[in-house]
């Protein structure tokens, strides 16, 4: 009886397999933050973002750029550093239940990566098309670029890196080496950021007609394909989770 009571108490005190609150809170962080960013673009894109030589451009857009770059470097250092520093050094000796719990946390990170990739590669990238079809650019750091290249891309890089570090440091599944497609899914989209160098060089070297399908942009396309590495992550994860649940689902 006493043992049963203890066991029930332990169950009640045990952390849930999936922390739904964390997942909702994390999702809200992305949604609310990007809603604010979109509001900022709407207001200060037109009122202060048309002429890069104007003082208000410096105030509202260049300062935004400087602040975001510092914040991104800090966030990446602290987040990745924390996940690495608190890594599990005995990852192969965790219980199956703990492993299942960590898979849920890992998928919570992947949900965040889903949000981050969506806003970066889809929402703010296509938005760039309509802004530059409307406003003739006179700088590499247009309001659209300040958000797309230097905010939304680093955010998905930081998020993808965090998911990767979590998987590598906490899950036995990833202890046998470096999962090739996980690397592709995280490093490929990361390479879109350095590719901005090619993009800006081309746009400033050739005064191009604002065509989105111009060959200059194909570097983005190539690295965008890397998102399909998610299929490899899916297969690795499904195999690992099936192994944990197989006996009970039979």
């Amino acid at each position: 009886m006493a043992a049963t009571t203890e066991s029930v108490k332990a169950d009640a005190a045990e952390a849930p397999l999936l922390n739904v609150k964390n997942m909702i809170l994390g999702s809200l962080v992305y949604l609310v933050f990007y809603a604010w960013v979109r509001w900022y673009e709407g207001v200060y894109g037109w009122s202060a973002g048309l002429d890069s030589f104007a003082p208000e451009f410096e105030t509202y857009w260049m300062n935004f750029l400087y602040i975001e770059i510092v914040m991104e470097v800090l966030t990446a250092s602290v987040l990745w550093g924390y996940i690495w520093k608190t890594r599990d050094r005995k990852v192969m000796s965790i219980t199956p239940r703990e492993e299942l719990r960590r898979h849920f946390t890992h998928w919570t990170w992947l949900v965040m990566y889903g949000w981050a990739i969506y806003f970066g590669a889809s929402y703010f990238t296509e938005q760039d098309g309509t802004w530059h079809q409307t406003i003739v650019r006179d700088t590499d750091f247009t309001p659209s670029h300040v958000i797309e290249f230097y905010l939304s891309y680093p955010i998905y890089i930081i998020t993808g890196g965090a998911a990767w570090f979590y998987a590598k440091t906490r899950l036995p599944t990833y202890n046998e080496g470096i999962p090739l497609q996980y690397m592709v899914a995280v490093v490929g989209p990361f390479m879109i950021l350095p590719n901005v160098g090619l993009n800006e060089w081309g746009h400033t070297f050739w005064f191009m007609e604002e065509l989105f399908v111009a060959p200059l942009h194909y570097g983005f396309v190539f690295f965008g394909w890397a998102a399909l590495g998610a299929l490899g992550i899916l297969n690795i994860e499904c195999t690992a989770i099936a192994k944990l649940l197989k006996k009970d689902l039979a």
Partner: protein
């Protein structure tokens, strides 16, 4: 870790856990595939997709299906061949359309004030349904590539016809005959707008009159077959579970 220990307390909990993972997986796949597919599509066929004055009877019909069949083929190569889930193409296309519609409304209209009936995206769902149904019924990659790829190209223009037809009626403006879509473009000048009406129906295609779109669709279907094959194998590579020792 003991092999005899169970990760769950009961069969009911195992089922619940499995379902929860299903939802999370679908969400993550939807948005990550959406991101990759959208950046690919907007930068290889985007201009034809952004504006109605680019949605002509020749190049739009040719280019859009060829660049759009890529991700559906890759996703099918995993969802069907590993999990027997017959909705890989539709999942990819719905993701793309979600990303496009949100953008066209909140950004093309909401930020730069182009009317939505000038910037709506192309319709790709009929072709995606055909790809999934052919794969489901045939269980054959080759048949899906040949019959599905061809169908994907052929169905594109008819699938878009109900929306685009009213914008392809001829109008006379300043002494020139153009389409209503051309007139939209004339009034909504963009930085990429040339100083002339784009004349895309060149050569004998133009003398064939009404056959421009079918000929273009047929050519598009042919190339879509080849692209399907290629991207099916890309998808298989991306789905690999290989681990490497060093990078």
């Amino acid at each position: 870790m003991s092999a005899s220990q169970s990760a769950v307390r009961s069969r009911a909990e195992a089922v619940k856990v499995s379902r929860t993972f299903d939802y999370m997986i679908v969400f993550v796949l939807f948005f990550i595939i959406l991101g990759g597919y959208h950046i690919h599509y907007m930068l290889t066929g985007g201009d034809w997709d952004f504006w109605t004055d680019w949605k002509d009877r020749r190049l739009w019909v040719t280019v859009a299906p060829i660049v759009a069949i890529t991700f559906p083929a890759a996703v099918q190569s995993q969802l069907w061949w590993k999990y027997k889930l017959p909705f890989g193409a539709v999942l990819a296309v719905l993701g793309l359309l979600f990303g496009e519609w949100v953008n066209r409304y909140f950004n093309f209209w909401g930020w730069t004030y182009f009317p939505v009936n000038f910037v709506f995206p192309s319709q790709l769902v009929p072709g995606a349904i055909l790809l999934d149904v052919i794969l489901l019924l045939s269980n054959s990659m080759t048949l899906t590539a040949v019959a599905g790829g061809l169908a994907f190209g052929l169905i594109f223009y008819p699938g878009n016809w109900p929306v685009i037809a009213p914008l392809h009626v001829p109008v006379e403006y300043n002494g020139m005959v153009m389409t209503l879509a051309d007139l939209q473009g004339y009034h909504y000048v963009r930085t990429g707008t040339p100083e002339y009406i784009r004349m895309v129906e060149k050569g004998t295609l133009r003398t064939f009159g009404k056959d421009v779109a079918p000929v273009s669709a047929f050519f598009s279907g042919f190339v879509s077959i080849l692209i399907y094959f290629l991207w099916h194998f890309f998808g298989k590579w991306f789905g690999s579970m290989a681990f490497v020792k060093a990078v």
